[in-house]
């Protein structure tokens, strides 16, 4: 079946602009996660949605970062006033009910000039 999809695959923006990254989880998966992967660093947790519960935002690095999940499916990660240090690959993952296994999408490579 279809895996997690993310768009765009690449995004180049100028410092100070806002960007939106999209994630379509696997159908039927109730949990959705955002991570980012910087060069030479491990994956860093950003935010986690589980069903209709309030999201766990504990990993968001600043108030410039926000995310929403509409209808329990598609999620959008928004970065306002982008900075060069925001350059990274942003990865989305989803999990089916009753398991902890996270299945990752291909990522969005964000470059802030």
């Amino acid at each position: 079946g279809a895996g997690v999809s993310q768009s765009p695959s690449n995004k180049v923006t100028e410092k100070g602009k806002d960007v939106e990254l999209r994630c379509d989880p696997i159908s039927g998966h109730t949990a959705l996660y955002w991570y980012r992967q910087s060069l030479g660093q491990g994956l860093e947790f950003l935010i986690y949605f589980q069903g209709n519960s309030a999201p766990d935002k504990s990993g968001l690095p600043s108030d410039r970062f926000s995310a929403e999940r509409t209808g329990g499916s598609v999620s959008t990660l928004t970065i306002q006033r982008t900075q060069q240090e925001d350059s990274a690959v942003y990865l989305c993952a989803s999990s089916p009910p009753g398991t902890d296994t996270q299945y990752f999408g291909p990522g969005t490579r964000l470059t802030v000039l």
Binding site: V4, Y35, L43, E44, F45, Y48, Q50, D56, T101, F104
Partner: protein, 110 residues
């Protein structure tokens, strides 16, 4: 603080030369330990989940084992197509997110 350390950072093997990758972890309560494979330009691909010390799982040339402080990913008779970065992650009890190590980059030469 939860922490995951992987070693070595990079490993070069000849085809057929078996070896092991290490993942040491510190977590207040282990809910699960996960191994992923990541190819360049792609998202991590799930390999294994281990839940308790003594547990082992196998898939083709890969075997993952777990103790109370570390996990090993054993690669038997590797092939060039096994070249990738292998990521280890832990999930703390009561948490949803995974905490990742920085990975081991494996290169297998023919």
């Amino acid at each position: 603080e939860d922490q995951v350390t992987q070693s070595p950072e990079a490993l070069r093997l000849q085809e057929g030369e078996s070896s092991s990758l290490n993942c040491s972890y510190t977590v207040s309560g282990l809910r699960g330990l996960f191994w992923y494979r990541q190819d360049p330009g792609k998202g991590p691909e799930f390999l294994f989940t281990l839940y308790s010390a003594g547990e082992e799982k196998e898939k083709e040339r890969l075997k993952a084992t777990l103790t109370k402080k570390e996990s090993f990913l054993h690669i038997t008779a590797p092939k060039p197509e096994d070249s990738a970065t292998y990521l280890c992650a832990v999930q703390d009890s009561g948490q949803g997110n995974l905490i990742f190590g920085k990975g081991t980059k494996l290169s297998v030469k023919p």
